[in-house]
């Protein structure tokens, strides 16, 4: 968290000071203005009243044209030092008497008329008619200095200003106290939050200093921290458990892999030794039986020769079994490629070689539909070789036969099949079809080791597909297979 640009404390003080200062200054200004105006009114009233009295006192002096009396009357103005000058004019507007008695003519106007009173610069000028009944005997002119008034207003303003400044000081002190009271706990809370977020230490607690909303906030914050601390602990411990489990799992996988590798090696060593060592005795059995038949045919007689033929046949069958078994075992070890393969083309090659071996057979071979696919060419050749050889074998008791390789379904669903019209089998035993060494026909009817379809199934599985069959006795068999099903 970055350091706050403006702390809440400063904002608080600023707000309080701004509000109180504005209020105080405005109030002060209004007070000063009002005081100034009321003072002026007071002074005007005073001067006007005095002028009225003086005018009344001057009536006799004017009526009897006695300037000395008039001067005496005006001299009463001595009591007010703010009066600068005064003059009494007769009915013709000529100066009759002045105050002070010898005043410069520039201070007192020679003659004038009209206006009752007006303020000229810092002076208040009063013109009061002197009346006797309704007759105007003359005019009284008084010029008063307003500087004293201004002085009083200034003094007043100073007092108000002092009061305003004092109030601002008090407001500042108050705001500082408020700051401590409100912003202090907020600051502590902020500090705690910052420490938590920076140190990721959820055991930190905010100090609760007040029992107001801020105290409640701090309390809630602490409760929240406690909850987070609890969850964090749980998370950490489950993380640790998970790591441990992971490590155990990895260890177990490594152990299993090692086990599997060693089993694989053993299996390989086993098939290697089977391949080398198991066939030699069989060769000896067959070879020496043959030697016996050739060298001692007379002694054996017909029955003996027949028995030996059976021995030889059994030995050869055993040899085939071993070969098939080894190739089945090898299937799961060989690397698989994925290339474009035309199953129809492969099938034709297989059928051609079968026809060459048994030219007397009358077999019609048909390829229907698009039979190109992707897979491992040698392995797919083994698939077709087994399926077509089976079809060839199980149609051998019929005078003519038909074998078909094709595809069903649309583009999305690629199911291939190899069908024949031969001996077929009972679907009740279909579950045994793909188990190694399981056969549905007697050896005397159709020879075989029972490994072929197990091999086919293994290869189809490695191509991500399924293998199944449909058949009925003497109605032929149809073997279906798919590939790469998981992908589509």
């Amino acid at each position: 968290m970055k350091a706050p640009r403006t702390t809440i404390q400063r904002k608080l003080v600023l707000a309080i000071m701004l509000t109180s200062t504005t209020a105080l200054v405005l109030t002060g200004a209004v007070l000063i203005a009002r005081e100034a105006s009321s003072l002026r009114q007071l002074v005007e009233r005073e001067v006007t009243t005095r002028a009225g009295i003086l005018a009344a006192n001057s009536t006799a002096a004017l009526a009897f044209r006695n300037p000395d009396d008039a001067i005496q009357v005006l001299a009463a103005l001595r009591t007010d030092p703010s009066v600068i000058a005064a003059a009494l004019y007769d009915e013709n507007g000529q100066v009759f008497a002045t105050y002070p008695s010898h005043v410069a003519p520039s201070v007192v106007p020679r003659a004038f008329g009209g206006v009752a009173h007006r303020i000229e610069e810092a002076h208040l000028v009063i013109r009061q008619p002197v009346l006797e009944g309704a007759r105007v005997l003359g005019t009284l002119y008084i010029k008063t200095d307003l500087r004293e008034l201004d002085e009083r207003v200034r003094m007043h303003a100073l007092v108000v200003l002092g009061a305003v400044l004092g109030s601002i000081g008090v407001a500042y002190a108050l705001s500082m106290w408020l700051k401590r009271k409100i912003a202090g706990p907020v600051g502590l809370l902020a500090k705690a939050a910052k420490a938590v977020s920076e140190g990721k230490d959820y055991s930190i607690r905010a100090e609760a200093v007040s029992d107001d909303e801020l105290g409640l906030l701090a309390e809630s914050f602490n409760d929240m921290l406690a909850e987070i601390e609890k969850r964090d602990g749980a998370l950490r411990s489950s993380e640790g458990r998970l790591r441990q489990l992971n490590a155990e799992l990895e260890q177990r996988v490594a152990a299993r892999t090692a086990e599997l590798e060693s089993t694989n090696r053993e299996l390989e060593a086993f098939s290697y030794s089977v391949s080398h060592d198991l066939r030699a005795p069989l060769r000896a059995i067959d070879g020496f039986s043959k030697a016996l038949l050739e060298d001692c045919a007379d002694g054996l007689g017909e029955v003996g020769s027949e028995h030996l033929d059976r021995v030889r046949k059994a030995a050869r069958q055993m040899g085939l079994l071993i070969d098939d078994l080894l190739s089945l075992a090898r299937l799961s070890r060989t690397e698989m490629r994925r290339e474009r393969v035309d199953l129809g083309l492969l099938a034709k090659e297989i059928v051609t070689s079968l026809s060459q071996a048994q030219p007397e057979r009358k077999v019609e071979f048909v390829v229907t539909g698009d039979t190109t696919t992707e897979g491992d060419p040698p392995l797919l050749r083994v698939v077709l070789d087994n399926l077509i050889r089976n079809a060839w074998k199980f149609t051998s008791k019929h005078p003519t036969a038909r074998i078909e390789l094709g595809r069903t379904g649309g583009n999305g669903n690629r199911t291939y099949f190899v069908a024949d019209d031969g001996a077929g089998f009972d679907m009740a035993h279909a579950s045994l079809l793909f188990a190694p060494f399981q056969r549905l026909h007697r050896q005397s009817d159709f020879e075989g080791t029972g490994v072929g379809l197990a091999t086919v199934q293994r290869i189809i599985q490695r191509h991500g597909g399924r293998l199944w069959a449909e058949s009925a006795v003497e109605s032929g068999a149809k073997f279906y297979f798919t590939m790469w099903e998981a992908r589509s």
Binding site: H276, G287, A291, M318
Partner: protein, 152 residues
Amino acid sequence: MTDKVILLAEDNANDEELTLRALRKHKISNEVVVVRDGQEALDYLFMAGSHAGRNPNQPPQLVLLDINLPKINGLDVLKRIRADARTRTLPVVILTSSSEERDRFTAYDNFANSYIRKPVDFDQFTEAVRELGLYWLVLNEPPPAVRPRTAI
């Protein structure tokens, strides 16, 4: 044809007898020298040990080499044959029970001339031996006599 010696490296007495029988049956009357382990095969080829005294002017025309041999494995015997200037061009046919891919690979990788798997069926076996003899002893032209200074 009779002066051409066949070296048969075979530890199994049955296989040895059957091979000889098959050869006889097809009137292949060459002298067949039988050695029963890898070491003896090398001794014969390089005139060492018990075969130190063999006729140096009658090198074998063909070696029929089993893989599973005692002491020195047939494939190692092949490597030693190919590593030596005196025997590098000698026709060697692997004649064995197994057709394991790695055996076949190692054999050809070390320049075996042929790899033949002994069939269990004796009829097929004799046929194989017959074709083998016909091809390597009659049809096939042997490598020219080795240079005089490296005479065997």
